[in-house]
Structures are given as C-alpha cells and as structure tokens.
C-alpha cells in the first residue's frame, strides 16, 4: 500500500480513538505492521500536522498518541464555548445528566468510568443549574459524594417522578471496569499463592 494511504488510516484511527489515544503497539497490531513502521507513520503524520492549514496536532502523552487542537487556536475555541453555552448544556453536561438520571445515586468516579473522561466540570455545571445535587455519601473510606437528580430536574422536564423517564434500550455499561479490576485481582491472587 502507498504511504499516503497508510497515513490516512492512521489519521482515522487516531481521530476515532479520541482522548483515549493509541499506543504504537496498538497501531502496529491493528495495521499488522511492525512497531518500527508504525513509529515512522506517526512521525511523518506529525510533520504533516505542522503545516499552517492544519488545526490539529499529534501529541504523545503517557505513551499514547492522540490528536488535539493546536494551542494557537485556543481563543477561537473559547469563543465557540461562549457562543453556545448560555441557553444550552454542553454534550458533556447532557451525558452526565443522563447517566445520573438513570443510575442515581452515583459517584463521580462511577460516572467517569462510564464516560471515560474527567467529569468534574459538568457536575459543577449541573449542580449550579440545580438539576442535580449531592444526595449522600458512600460508606467507608473516601466517602465520595453520591449524586442524584433534583425536584427541579423533574419540574423542568415535566416529569412527575423518575419512573416517567423513557426507558433506555441499551443498558449503560458497567461491566467493563469491573472486568479489569477482576483481572487485577486474579493476577494478584496468583502472586500471593
């Protein structure tokens, strides 16, 4: 395959992997090439992104590569946020609200596990809009806050109770993180035995 075609595929993979990013090992495995070749592709893409007409750049963070917007465009991103935020909620806030509505009471960490990204700010926004509130604390160490929806939430959406929320078909996944924890535990058991 031509190198330009490969580059396109790498870009697509990086793009879709979002904030999670891709490691060289992953890239090599998906493309069925060596890690050397994968590194070369990454390097060459990196150069392409340096051109002025590109708004994104390829950065390496903690061993994974991910696409991010260029620093120099931040003032426009700021304007973008300002132009949309007054009468609406961000996608992040809406997602967070949905997760809380369907899975309350729930801690911030649990929400972050589902969303895959930090969720401090969306929670703050929702609290400040009185759509959610702290409804308690987890027993034991850490005593993390549990969040739930408010009466204002019900009023705002014209619901009498939470039972009136439309049922959701796809269950919000919770198995994933546990699987990894199990894996850890298994390995750990092996070691002590």
């Amino acid at each position: 395959m031509e190198s330009s075609k490969w580059k396109g595929i790498v870009e697509a993979l990086l793009f879709a992997s979002g904030d999670v990013g891709l490691s060289i090992a992953q890239l090599a495995s998906v493309l069925e090439i060596t890690e050397y070749q994968a590194t070369d592709l990454i390097e060459s893409l990196k150069e392409d992104y340096e051109k002025a007409e590109r708004g994104i750049q390829l950065v390496e963070m903690a061993g994974v590569f991910q696409l991010v917007t260029k620093q120099e465009h931040s003032e426009y991103l700021k304007k973008l946020v300002e132009s949309t935020s007054s009468h609406s909620l961000s996608q992040a806030a809406l997602e967070t609200l949905a997760i809380i509505a369907y899975k309350q009471p729930i801690t911030r960490t649990e929400i972050e596990d589902i969303r895959g990204v930090k969720t401090e700010r969306p929670i703050q926004t929702l609290v400040s809009k009185a759509l959610i509130k702290e409804v308690g604390r987890v027993e034991g160490t850490g005593r993390a806050y549990l969040y739930g929806t408010t009466k204002e939430f019900l009023d705002y959406f014209g619901l009498n109770s939470l039972e009136e929320l439309p049922p959701i078909a796809d269950p919000i996944d919770e198995g994933y993180e546990n699987e990894e924890a199990d894996l850890f535990f298994e390995k750990f058991q092996q070691t002590i035995e």
Binding site: G18, V68, L89, A92, E152, F184
Partner: protein, 255 residues
Amino acid sequence: MRGLKMSYNIKIDAFEGPMDLLLHLINRLEIDIYDIPMAEITDQYLGYIHTMQHLELDIASEYLVMAATLLAIKSKMLLPKHEEEPIFDAEDEGFEADPRDELVEKLLEYKKYKQAALEFKTLEEERSLMFTRPPSDLSQYAKDALSGPQDLNISLYDMLGALQKLLRRQKLQKPVYTKVTKQELSIDKRMAEILSDLRTTKGSKRFYDLFSEPVKEHIVITFLALLELMKQNDIVVKQDDNFSDIVITAKEGVE
C-alpha cells in the same frame, strides 16, 4: 416434532404481520395486486394460519382479524352485482365499489413504507462505517452562572440524544487490545524482561520508564513483577528524596 416446532418459532419472525404475509403471498403467487383473486389468496392465507395452529404457534390476533376480513371480501365478491343500485358504499356515484379496494389501498400503503424501511437499513449500514469522536472538553473556557434550569433551553430528548451518542461512542472505546494483550504476558516473563532491560542500561532504569505500555494489564504485571524481583532480592529500589525519581537497579550477578 419438537425440534420442528422450535425452528418455526424462530422463523415466524419472517413476517412483520398479516400485511407482510399477504404481500408475500401476492408476490409469490405472481398476482396482480390491483386484481387480487380473492378465493385463491384467502385459501393460501388460511392455509398458513391453519399450519401455524397445527404447529401450536401463538397466532397474533391481527392475523385472525385479517383472515376474517379476507373471508368477508371474498363473500362480497360472490354476491350478484346490481347495475343501478349499488349495494356497497360507493364513494363515487354511479360506480360500484370493488370490495377489494380498501385492502389494496392498505397493502400499497404498507408496501411503500416497507420499501422505505429497506432503504433506511442501507443508510444505517453506510452511516455505521463512519466513526466520530466526542467533542473536546472545553469546560476550562466555560463560565457557570449560578441559576436554576429555567433559562435553559433543553429537552429530555437532548439528554437522551447525548446518552445515545455516548453509548454508541463507548463501543469504540473498549479497544480489542485488552483482549489481545491478555494473552501471555506472565509475571515471570515480565520479570525476565525487566532484568534484561536493566542490563542494557548499565544496570539501572527509572521506575516510570519501565511502564512503557499504556495498557492497564501491562502496568499491573510490571508492578507485580517489580515486587517479586524485590522479594527475590534481584533488584534494588532507591529514591533519594520524596518525589524524586525512583531508580531500579539490578543486583550484580543476577542472571
């Protein structure tokens, strides 16, 4: 017989209802939809219903309603026609309504949407080949004003839509590599790797440099391998100050 029943239970989904079944019969018998031979189609339809009963399948009441409708139309067709005084509710004066009209119209209408559904299926497939990414977290730029929800302009469906996007997206964020790498990285193997790694760098390496793979399993195993190496007295772990780099050194003579 039991096995047969089961397979039919699955296959009954082949039809989306009596309309679907009728359309199928019409197509199969190569019948002109505008001139349906009622006797034939009714026989075929009832044959189907009887077989379902024979197989002791649950027949949705809609199928029975349609059977009754077909029989009614068939019998009306058998009645003698009156030229001057139409006995059926004819919408156009002077013309005798065909008792099949309503059924034909309904079948055509249904067929239209059934075909549209096929096109939707194609669109759905094409769209599923395009992958997206979540919006960047721009919350650092946001200003939160303390206020109730009343100045917001969002609906329950915006929330559901966001959730739907998240759920679709999440499928991508469960990378297969967790499965792939689960294979055979054992603690023993990692211990040997670490020791040989240390040897290539004159015996020491910074702690963090050993965690080169951002895969959780790899990190866990590396950590456990390090603990095991310490226990076996194969490595020395040193940290000069709080928060300074932790340096891992292989003990001399360790193979």
